[in-house]
C-alpha cells in the first residue's frame, strides 16, 4: 500500500489541477461555444454544451457590421499610438533613474514611487475639466497623450530595476569612446533590457486594450468608440431577446489579441509579476 501512495498522490494532484483549469477556462470555452450557436440555443432552458450545427453566421454578420469594424480599427489605432509613446518615454525615464547619478534623483524617484498610492480614478474629475478646456472631449487625445509623459509608476519601477542590474562599466567605456547619452541609452542599454521591455509593453497593451472608463468619458460618438465601449452597447436592455451569438462573436474577436499577446509574453509576465508586485 505504502508503495502506491506517491502515485495516488500525484493522480489526485493532477485531477485537482485539471479540474481547476477546466473551471478557470470555462468562460472562454462558453464564449466560443455560444458564438457558434443560434439565438434559440443560447436561450435554451436545457444545457447546450456544444451547438448541434455550429453556425458561423454571427461571424459573417459581424464582418459586415461597419460599427464593429470601425471600433476594432479605433482600438488598434489608439492602442498602438499610446503604446509606442508610453513605452519610449518610460524607457527614457527609467534610464535617468537607473544609470545616471544626478542631484535630486532620489527625491524625484521617491516622489514617483509615492504616486503609486494615488488611485488614477481620483484624477479623472480634474483631468476631465482640463481636457474640456483644451477642447479635447470627443477626440482620442485624452486617451493617448498623458501616456507620452511616462505614465505608469509601476512600469517605470519595473524597467528601472532591470536597467540597474547592467554593469556600470558598459556605459562608461562607451562614454570614453565618445558616445553621448542618447546613443548609450538607445544603442547599448535598451537592447539589453528587451525582456523587461516586452513585459512592460504587454502590461501596457492589456491595460489599454481593456480600458473602459476613459474611453467612455471622452469618446462620445459611435464613430470614435473603442472595442470595449462598442461591445458594451451590443447588450441592450431594451431588446426583448439579446443577440447572444453576435455579442459572443464580438467578445471572441475582442479577446483574441489578448490571448495571442499573453501566449507570446507569458514567460516574461509570469516571472515579473512577482518581482514588481512584491517590491512595488
Amino acid at each position: 500500500m505504502k508503495k502506491y501512495l506517491p502515485i495516488i498522490k500525484s493522480i489526485l494532484l493532477y485531477a485537482l489541477l485539471t479540474g481547476a483549469t477546466v473551471l478557470m477556462s470555462f468562460p472562454l470555452f462558453w464564449m466560443i461555444s455560444s458564438s457558434l450557436k443560434t439565438i434559440e440555443e443560447t436561450n435554451s432552458p436545457g444545457i447546450v454544451w456544444v451547438p448541434q450545427n455550429p453556425t458561423f453566421e454571427a461571424y459573417f454578420a459581424i464582418f459586415q457590421n461597419q460599427d464593429f469594424l470601425r471600433s476594432y480599427f479605433n482600438s488598434v489605432f489608439y492602442v498602438t499610438l499610446a503604446l509606442v509613446g508610453t513605452l519610449i518615454s518610460i524607457a527614457a525615464v527609467s534610464y535617468a533613474f537607473s544609470r545616471l547619478e544626478w542631484p535630486g534623483r532620489n527625491v524625484v524617484f521617491f516622489l514617483m514611487l509615492s504616486t503609486m498610492m494615488i488611485p488614477p480614478q481620483a484624477l479623472i474629475v480634474p483631468q476631465y475639466v482640463f481636457f474640456n478646456k483644451l477642447d479635447w472631449i470627443g477626440t482620442f487625445n485624452p486617451l493617448i497623450i498623458p501616456g507620452y509623459f511616462a505614465g505608469g509608476a509601476a512600469m517605470i519601477f519595473l524597467l528601472r530595476q532591470a536597467m540597474a542590474q547592467i554593469p556600470k562599466e558598459l556605459d562608461e567605456s562607451a562614454f570614453v569612446d565618445g558616445a553621448n547619452h542618447i546613443q548609450i541609452w538607445w544603442e547599448i542599454i535598451l537592447p539589453l533590457v528587451k525582456a523587461p521591455m516586452a513585459t512592460v509593453a504587454t502590461f501596457l497593451f492589456v491595460g489599454l486594450w481593456n480600458s473602459l472608463l476613459t474611453p467612455l468619458m471622452y469618446l462620445q460618438t459611435i464613430d470614435l468608440y473603442t472595442l470595449p465601449v462598442y461591445v458594451s452597447t451590443l447588450y441592450n436592455i431594451n431588446q426583448t431577446v439579446q443577440p447572444w451569438p453576435t455579442i459572443m462573436t464580438a467578445a471572441v474577436l475582442t479577446t483574441v489579441p489578448l490571448i495571442v499577446v499573453f501566449f507570446f509574453a507569458q514567460r516574461f509576465i509570469l516571472e515579473s509579476v512577482v518581482v514588481s508586485g512584491l517590491k512595488g
Binding site: 480614478q121 484624477l123 480634474p126 476631465y128 509623459f149 470595449p228 447588450y235
Partner: protein
C-alpha cells in the same frame, strides 16, 4: 484642428513629442545652469543635464497630469463648481465633505459594498489563490501550462467582452451556472442540500449588509422568516440585490491568478531545510503547511490583502457591464469609483465629484498606512 479624428490625434501626438523634447532640453539646460552656479565640475554638470533631460517627461507629466489636477480638485472640492453652469463657483467650505460622509446614501452604499467584498470576497479569493499556489508548488510536469491557465483570467478579467460572457453565464433562468447547479442537484440530491445551505447563509449575510446600508433590516427579517430555501431554489446572481455582490466575488475569485503568483513566490522562498527537518521529525504535510509554510507566508498574505482591498474600492467594469442598466439593484453593488463616475459625469458636478475623489484618496492612504502599522503585530518576517 482638422475634422478627421485620426489625423487630429496624429498631429497632437507630434506636437506633444515636440513639446516633450523642448521641455527636456529646457529642464536639462536649467539644471546644468544651476549646477554651474553651484560650482559643480564639468563632468557633474554633464550628468545633471542628462539626468534631468531623461527624467523630464515624468517630471513635466507629473506637474501637468497629477500635481496641478490634484491641487485644482482640492480647491473645487470646497465649492459647488459645475462645468455646465454659467454661474461662477460658490465657496462652500466643508459642506461637500459633510454631505458625502454623513448624508450621501450612494456613498454609504459604496462603503458597505466594499466592506462586503473585503470581509466575504477577499478571504475567498485569497483562499483559492493560496490553494492553487500550493498545488502548483508541488513541482510536477506541465506546471507552466497550469500556471498560464490560472493567470489568463487576470489578463482577460475586466474586459467588457468577457464580462458580457459572465452576464450570459450568470443568467438566473437559462444561464449555464444555474443549469449546472440544477443538473447536479437532480443527479445527486445531497448536493442540492449543500447548495441550498450556501444560498441560505449567503442571503442572510447579504441581507444583513443591505440592512447596514439602509439602516432598516426588513429584508433580513424576510429572509429569516422565509427559512431554509425551497427545493428548487438557485442563486439569483445578477437579478437580485441579495446576489449582486456575490457575482462580483465570483469574478474576483476567477481573477485570483495574480495573487497566486505572489503566493507561489512566497512558497519558493521558504527554505527547503525547514520542511526536510520537520519531515524527519514526523510532521505530516498538513502540519507542515500550517506550522511552517503558513506563518512564513504572512507577509505575502498581507501584501495581497492590501492590494485586494484597494482594488475592491476601484472596481468599475463589472458594475458597469453587469448592472448599469438595472437601476433598482445598482446601489446594492456600486463601488466607490463607480459612484464617483456616476456622480461626476451624470450632472457634471465637478465640486462634489472632486470631494469624492479626495475622500477616496484619503481612504486608500489610510488603508495602506494602517495595514503597514498592523503588520508588525501578526506578520512573521523571521528567516528572511
Amino acid at each position: 484642428m482638422p475634422q478627421n479624428p485620426y489625423l487630429n490625434v496624429l498631429i497632437t501626438a507630434a506636437l506633444t513629442i515636440a513639446f516633450i523634447i523642448v521641455t527636456s532640453y529646457g529642464l536639462g539646460f536649467l539644471a546644468r545652469f544651476i549646477a554651474r552656479m553651484r560650482g559643480a565640475s564639468p563632468k557633474a554638470q554633464e550628468v545633471t543635464f542628462a539626468g534631468y533631460f531623461f527624467a523630464s517627461p515624468w517630471i513635466v507629466g507629473f506637474l501637468i497630469f497629477v500635481l496641478v489636477p490634484l491641487g485644482f480638485s482640492l480647491y473645487w472640492s470646497f465649492t459647488d463648481y459645475r462645468v455646465t453652469s454659467p454661474d461662477p463657483a460658490q465657496w462652500l467650505g466643508l459642506d461637500n465633505y459633510k454631505t458625502i460622509l454623513f448624508e450621501d446614501e450612494g456613498f454609504r452604499a459604496s462603503i458597505i459594498n466594499t466592506l462586503y467584498l473585503t470581509v466575504i470576497g477577499l478571504p475567498l479569493q485569497l483562499g483559492v489563490a493560496l490553494f492553487l499556489a500550493v498545488l502548483l508548488n508541488q513541482k510536477m510536469r506541465g506546471e507552466r501550462i497550469f500556471r498560464m491557465a490560472f493567470y489568463l483570467p487576470v489578463i482577460l478579467g475586466f474586459n467588457t467582452a468577457v464580462l458580457l460572457c459572465w452576464r450570459l453565464m450568470l443568467n438566473t433562468g437559462t444561464g449555464i451556472i444555474n443549469q449546472i447547479i440544477r443538473a447536479m442537484t437532480e443527479a445527486f440530491p445531497p448536493f442540492g442540500l449543500l447548495s441550498r445551505g450556501v444560498i441560505y447563509v449567503q442571503e442572510v449575510v447579504a441581507a444583513f449588509f443591505l440592512g447596514l446600508n439602509t439602516g432598516k433590516y426588513n429584508l433580513l427579517l424576510k429572509v429569516l422568516e422565509a427559512g431554509f430555501p425551497a427545493e428548487n431554489r438557485v442563486p439569483l446572481w445578477i437579478q437580485s440585490p441579495l446576489w449582486t455582490k456575490m457575482s462580483v466575488v465570483l469574478l474576483m475569485v476567477w481573477g485570483c491568478g495574480a495573487m497566486m503568483l505572489i503566493f507561489l513566490a512566497g512558497l519558493n522562498n521558504i527554505p527547503k531545510e525547514l520542511h526536510e527537518a520537520a519531515e524527519v521529525d514526523g510532521a505530516t504535510g498538513w502540519q507542515r503547511f500550517w506550522k511552517i509554510s503558513f506563518p512564513l507566508l504572512t507577509p505575502y498574505i498581507f501584501y495581497n490583502l492590501v492590494v485586494g482591498m484597494i482594488s475592491a474600492l476601484q472596481i468599475f467594469e463589472p458594475v458597469f457591464v453587469l448592472y448599469r442598466d438595472n437601476q433598482p439593484i445598482l446601489s446594492s453593488t456600486i463601488s466607490m469609483v463607480y459612484y464617483l463616475w456616476q456622480k461626476s459625469f451624470s450632472h457634471f458636478e465637478i465640486g462634489y465629484g472632486s470631494a469624492i475623489s479626495w475622500v477616496i484618496l484619503v481612504i486608500i492612504m489610510i488603508v495602506t498606512v494602517i495595514q503597514f502599522r498592523l503588520q508588525d503585530r501578526w506578520v512573521t518576517y523571521d528567516v528572511y
